[in-house]
Amino acid sequence: MYEHDVIVVGAGGAGLRAAVAADEAGADVALVSKLHPVRSHTGAAEGGINAALREGDDWELHAYDTMKGSDYLADAPAVETLTQDSPEDTITLEHWGMPFSREEDGRVSQRPFGGLSFPRTTYAGAETGHHLLHVMYEQVVKRGIQVYDEWYVMDLATTDEDDPNERECHGVVAYDVQSGNVEGFKANDGVILATGGPGQAFDHTTNAVSCTGDGHAMAYRAGAPLEDMEFIQFHPTSLPSTGVLISEGVRGEGGILYNNDGERFMFEHGYANNDGELASRDVVARAELTEVQEGRGVNDEYVHLDMRHLGEERILDRLENILHLAEDFEGVDGLIEPMPVKPGQHYAMGGIEVDENGQTCIDGLYAAGECACVSVHGGNRLGGNALPELIVFGKRAGRHAAGDDLGEPQIRTGYGDDVEDETDTELPVQPGSAGLDGSGGVAADGGMTADAEGILERQVESAREHVDYLMEKDTGVQHAEIRQKLQNAMTDYVNVFRTEEGVKKALKLIRECREEYQDVYVDDPSRTFNTDLQQTIETRNLIDVAETIALGALVRNEFRGAHWRQENQIRDDENWLKHTLISWEEGEPKIFYRPVILEGEDKTYEPKDRSY
């Protein structure tokens, strides 16, 4: 058994930042990640970091843009924390050596981004995430922070009181990918989940193969609610054949979208008469699909993004990486022809419910980054707001777990007297556990009596049995088949445009995936670097997470941010200024709601029409 004060699961931007902060606060911290840190998907972020750094800008403007962008489903205390902390935390990155793009006077450059009232997106070429990830890993090396890389965390070790609010998390169970050994990691002060997004629940995604919602699923099964999971961002400019992302920076610099008739449709078809291509991402994604559905798409599939008029010099200076991506993954030279683009799953606004300090309702369990929902993005995340979330809330979670006092949070977590139960929606199938699938979440018994070591040991034992079971089973279904079916169901029915009928179909298919998973087996007999085993376990996580996305999409019968429902195509503030929460209770999802907090420090953000 390994033991540290703070265990951080995942070593992308949020995890690395949390580890550095916990280290600075004096804790003995370790990172446990299924990838070596520099392989993490933060490295694929292109655009930049929103921070109110310059004269004429301030955090309140950034907060206002973010609340508006969220379609008034973000919690104001979270948004104000983000926008207040982002400038300092961004400058910290510069102090650590991040190679930001520069102005003539040597200061860091900022550029316009969608939905922003000020050009506050601080960037390093079109590869901001790559530099952020590497500079943060450099700080981990500098501080000698322990990294267990290529260790796959399977589950949390939590106590099992009936009320999740009374549970405690004492560590994690992980297996060493290289050797196959399953071991316990005891966390004396806290476990921070920083496992990134669940994009692999979808077929066409900008997310890495590793983005399998592991943290979401572990926290969910341990009793922490998942919040606003139905809010999935579909990025308007991904390459059609692979899903590779083309940065919003292209439009920020002046790139133009055309349909097959050569029309600049964002204006000519009235989708966003003021901001055009730089409207919020959900607006642009829907516009593109509408063009295709109405027969104005190129090859009935995509639209064109043209940046040729920006000129070679400017493109090479600010968007060079985009040229490589378009060339390598679509065979298109962005300097001489427009690039084909279509919406692709990109980001999950929802996630593990946490407060401003990164805490879940389970004592000692934290989450930060894309896997968490504070919530700062609400119904739709603005471009350039993901990276500041990583550094701001990664840092806060790290400090808090290490014992720093960050003050009382305004945001409440877990089931409580301020929530409302879901009662209306009829489900097409029984969601939740299908019965036999081993690792169930909380530790076996004796929540109040067992000590931390005991709980961890039991969980390690159960994980070992689970692995043995999967390895020893000789026949059945393989994960790849189930995963593909799940991804198709989500992309077919829980995409940009959603209908009640479609989402119900998806829930039925997800149920089928769960039942098929009962018969899953691992064909590779080796304990050495068994990716078959790892992907089999990831697939279970994807099923759990996909189900919460579909459940959220079914119950929320309105159109807000990235979530569009055919049956009620308006933002229904009367009924839906509330977060969707789904928690796992005795093997079944329980759905409830918590009102959104629109009251900030000094003012209330009144919901307004969101036009761009």
Binding site: R39, E88, S101, G106, E138, K142, S241
Partner: protein, 292 residues
Amino acid sequence: MSTQQQEPEQPESQETPKDPEMKGAESPVDEKEKETGEIDQTTADETELEGETVLIKVFRYDPEVADKQEPRFDEFHVPFEKGMTVLDAVMYARDHYDSSLTFRHSCRQAVCGSDAFFVNGKQRLGCKTQMADLEHPVRIEPLPHQEVVKDLVVDMDHFYDQMHTVEPYLQQDDLPTGDLEEQRQSRENREKIKMSTRCIWCGACMSSCNIAAGDNEYLGPAAINKAYRFAMDDREDEEVKEHRLRIIEQEHGVWRCQTQFSCTEVCPKDIPLTEHIQELKREAVKKNLKFW
């Protein structure tokens, strides 16, 4: 509801590597073919491949599994699709024929640096290499000069150790005071270090380098490039720069490089590694730093 799983198809044939020494200790070096790795003139046109299957020969080794302890090549016929990369091909083979086929991969867009393989005798990123640009059949092996863990997975620990040796972090304690003040850096200086900051730690350069193959302590192109990235960054002071030069000019540092350009040739991010190494040599000479 259940589905009947069909038996995974066995690879159509197995072939023993030509190098009998290759018992997992090191990946195949003799296999290196005398080809430049540039787009081959003889390759099939993409349109010719459409609707066809392509043949890949993949290196297999697993220290734990009886019939894989002796390294071998498995052949897989993969249906070709426009735009198919080497990574797509091995993923297809894994997901449809043999789920034990093992390789690292994650982002699929040439930024995570996980999937550097030895493809038709050259170090390349699987996700960035189009099948249509290669001579067929396509031979896929783990990176040479590194210990093979299993199939296409090599042990990267030594590579990481070398990267860490050069103190890969900005060393500047004298930071601007006042609220939210960044250090100033000229556009020219940022441009100077730009290419060096693009490294994705894939290890292709180190694997291609004959010197690194013969001298295990040689820092290697990636680590020296990392040192360059900081040594050339004006945000560090002169004395730090000198400290950095002392690290890279030692016996197993820059002077080992014989400017063969193999690293520069294989770098998937087009970093001029050899030039960076040469420039550091000149800097060391200017400062009269010579380890001998």
